[in-house]
């Protein structure tokens, strides 16, 4: 469902993403980890078509995001780390607006919104203006609205920031359930235990390069560390830090 082929993005003289090859299957929960500045958000922007790759390509459900952006984006739900909302709308109005943008039938929007509001505990706020909502409530609303059109690919950047434990649990459960039902989840996070708990496979990016990818056991084997993901992550990224940095050729 998500495939990248030698995906590269250079900023000035530096490769933020360097020859990334990924192949993530339908129904797979993929966690994307890396230190600050590793290129995770740039990768996500390349996957969603917000940035143009310097070379290589990204495919969503078989559609090249650059060549067939409309087909690809219809299948995507994207939740950025700093999401956008219209402050002067109420949550239910926002859901209707999103439904219209995706060409959904009003009755379906009503039903799906009601279900999502139940799941994300948003019923108490459906008539309030978004500008009055707390950060956690806004974050839940953003995720709910992203799932409204039943996307096949969910790309989500740091979804747990600012969520209370109950809300975080709900988000994790919903994402896992969507993955079990066939959606591909691509989750970028710094919270390692979330990745450890939810992901089928984990990819670790450092200096724009995918330095490790696999299941928890495969990562442990690659790092030579027995224990939690944190130890494997620190071991793998430390090794990479010690390697010399190669500047881009352009």
């Amino acid at each position: 469902m998500i495939r990248t082929e030698q995906l590269t993005k250079a900023f000035g003289g530096v490769r933020a993403v360097d020859g990334l090859n990924l192949d993530i299957a339908a129904g797979e929960f993929f966690a994307f980890l890396g230190p600050n500045g590793a290129g995770k958000t740039t990768t996500i922007k390349l996957l969603t078509g917000l940035l143009k790759p310097t070379s290589g390509r990204a495919l969503i459900c078989g559609h090249d995001i650059q060549q067939a952006p409309m087909e690809a984006r219809k299948q995507i739900a994207y939740v950025p780390d700093l999401p956008f909302l219209y402050d002067k709308l109420a949550p239910l109005e926002f859901m209707h607006f999103i439904g219209q943008l995706y060409g959904m039938d009003r009755a379906i929007v009503e039903r799906a919104s009601a279900e999502l509001f139940d799941v994300f505990d948003l019923n108490g706020t459906r008539e309030k203006l978004i500008e009055t909502l707390s950060h956690g409530t806004r974050q839940r609303l953003v995720i709910a609205s992203a799932l409204l059109h039943n996307p096949k690919v969910i790309i989500i950047d740091e979804p747990m920031v600012g969520l209370d434990p109950r809300s975080a649990r709900v988000v994790k459960d919903v994402l896992k359930e969507r993955s079990r039902n066939g959606a591909t989840v691509f989750l970028s996070t710094h919270i390692l235990h979330v990745a450890e708990e939810l992901a089928d496979r984990i990819g670790i990016l450092n200096h724009g390069k995918l330095i490790a990818v696999g299941t928890m056991d495969e990562l442990r084997a690659a790092s030579g560390v027995v224990g939690a993901l944190e130890d494997a992550f620190l071991s793998l990224t430390r090794e990479e830090e010690e390697a010399p940095v190669e500047p881009a050729s352009e």
Partner: protein
């Protein structure tokens, strides 16, 4: 999703939100709403009266009245066109490339070109409404003096539609090319260069009529000079020429000629939109991606910077501020932060260049004025006009750039609020920093303009002292009201109030501007009345000027102390 559906959905959304915003006005203080409404009405009434008087004055020139009135219309629309192009460029850049909404839209199943077209409409409306609002009294006065029928005003409204489309398209075309082919850092310098060239060009080409000659018996040559100097506005390829020609023709009752120019305007607007659409399909996404992918720029040098960040400047600015040893280190740090942020924000910078450029243009043109200084009327009139123009521009500058400073701290407020000396120091730093640059700019311009106008020494001292007081007072109002009526985003989702232009457009910004104007009017009245009543400096009874100075000083002190102390009290109690 098809373009018409996308447009319809967004149109519904924005109408709905506009209704909400109007509804939320009910929650604002009635007194403040009344003050703002009064100000709006006052502007329209005063503007209409002044323009009407001006047009009547022009009609009195035998044989030339109509010609001069029409020339005013050509000049007005030429100036409006230029301002609209600049305004669209600045707003278009923010709306297309800096807005979180655009970024979000780019991930929707909508064509990029449709996003661009929507943003073209949004930019055109945002950039144009204020100009139309401000030009309404001018058009009404023109119509009244020309004695036109009511249908003229409807036709004028109709003409405005294609007229605002052309500068919007031109402005966005420029932005499309710039973002696609120029580095955004280079864009800042290009804009600065363009602004400088425009000012130099305007100084060289636009020479106002020598008003001194108006007093003398050289009316015909003066008129010739005026008509000759304003001939640029008569270029038949300018959209402003078509709109003015159409309006004049409709005003005269020449329906065919009016319709012809209207159709010229419509067809060119359609062509501009078409060009924009073609250019957007080829350049917008590339430009967008480039704009969000650029590392730091150095002239001719490829930069290798691991974090893609702007390297902290060597402490040149710090060293400069260390020259003032009484500045507390935390105050100095805040000042360095504010100056750096301002410098690195292209949209802030570019608007500042335009404001400053206009003020500079005004002052530079004063060299062409040679008044008869033995005539008391001209001395008083030109001097107070000069003071009024400078202070109004300063009020615009402080409202636009100083008022949003506190709100722009937004969700980062706690960072500066947690320093040992707290929010009060932050607020005082903003007051002193803004006052310092305001005094620097206005004092330089006042001294320069006084020298160019060959003002007597006492008047130069009087005006210099006045603008220093006004700079402090207007900054006090802007910083104080900015903290009393901050415009924060309420959460950590996309912070739309990172855009200072939107902060100013709120209630607090309007209140700040109205308060600043009230202060300016009171100061100018206080200084002008003694001259009018014959108790000024040159009258032999200078007690009037002494009294007025006591009043101006007291008023300025109030303008600083009241908003600042209320704001300091508020931020002292603020929960972050």
């Amino acid at each position: 999703m098809t373009a018409p559906t996308f447009f319809r959905v967004l149109m519904d959304l924005h109408l709905h939100m506009a209704q909400r915003r109007l509804g939320s006005l009910k929650q604002q203080s009635r007194l403040m709403l009344a003050v703002i409404m009064l100000f709006v009405l006052g502007y329209w009434v005063a503007g209409y009266a002044l323009f009407r008087a001006g047009f009547w004055y022009l009609t009195k020139f035998p044989g030339l009245g109509g010609l001069l009135m029409d020339r005013m219309l050509y000049l007005f629309f030429a100036f409006l066109f230029l301002m609209l192009v600049f305004s669209n460029m600045i707003i278009g850049y923010s709306t297309l490339f800096k807005s979180q909404e655009t970024q979000w839209m780019m991930t929707l199943p909508v064509r990029h070109t449709d996003v661009f077209r929507w943003k073209l409409v949004e930019t055109a409306l945002l950039a144009s409404w204020a100009f139309l609002f401000l030009s309404a009294p001018f058009m009404l006065a023109y119509g009244n003096v020309r004695d036109v029928s009511w249908s003229f005003y409807l036709k004028a409204l109709l003409l405005f539609v294609p007229f605002i489309v052309i500068p919007a398209s031109v402005g966005l075309l420029v932005i499309l090319f710039v973002t696609r082919y120029l580095h955004r850092q280079l864009f800042k310098w290009a804009l600065f260069g363009l602004g400088t060239l425009a000012i130099i060009g305007a100084v060289l080409l636009v020479r106002p009529m020598d008003a001194g000659q108006l007093q003398q018996a050289e009316m015909i040559s003066s008129m010739n000079q005026l008509l000759h100097n304003s001939r640029l506005a008569l270029q038949p390829l300018l959209p402003s020429y078509w709109v003015a020609s159409s309006m004049i023709a409709w005003g005269e009752g020449w329906g065919g000629r009016g319709l012809f120019f209207f159709l010229v305007l419509v067809s060119n607007a359609a062509m501009a939109v078409l060009l924009c659409a073609v250019a957007s399909s080829r350049l917008f996404y590339d430009g967008w991606s480039r704009n969000h992918s650029q590392g730091p720029f150095r002239f001719g040098v490829t930069v290798l910077d691991r974090e893609f960040a702007v390297r902290p400047r060597s402490s040149g600015l710090d060293r400069l501020l260390r020259l003032w040893p009484w500045l507390h280190p935390s105050t100095r740090a805040l000042m360095v932060k504010d100056i750096r942020i301002f410098w690195r924000d292209t949209s802030q910078w570019s608007q500042f260049v335009i404001f400053f450029g206009l003020l500079g243009l005004y002052v530079l043109n004063l060299r062409n004025v040679s008044y008869d200084w033995s005539n008391e009327f001209w001395v008083s009139f030109v001097s107070f006009l000069n003071l009024g123009a400078s202070s109004m521009t300063l009020a615009t500058l402080t409202t636009r750039f100083v008022f949003p400073q506190f709100s722009m701290e937004g969700k980062r407020l706690w960072i500066v609020g947690m320093v040992p000396y707290g929010m009060k120091r932050v607020l005082l730093e903003k007051f002193w920093l803004s006052s310092a640059w305001s005094v620097g700019i206005t004092l330089t311009l006042t001294l320069l303009s006084s020298w160019m106008l060959k003002l007597p020494a006492w008047m130069t001292v009087l005006f210099s002292a006045t603008v220093v007081l006004m700079s402090f007072a207007l900054c006090g109002i802007a910083v104080g009201v900015g903290a009393l009526f901050p415009n924060f985003s309420t959460g950590s989702t996309a912070n739309r109030y990172d855009n200072p232009a939107k902060i100013v457009s709120g209630f607090g910004g309007t209140f700040c501007f109205v308060l600043s104007l009230v202060y300016i009017v009171l100061v100018i009245l206080a200084e002008a009345l003694p001259v009018y009543w014959g108790v000024g400096v040159g009258s032999g009874r200078p007690w009037g000027i002494v009294l007025s100075w006591i009043f101006v000083s007291g008023l300025s002190l109030l303008a600083i102390v009241v908003p600042m102390s209320l704001a300091l009290k508020k931020v002292g109690e603020m929960e972050m």
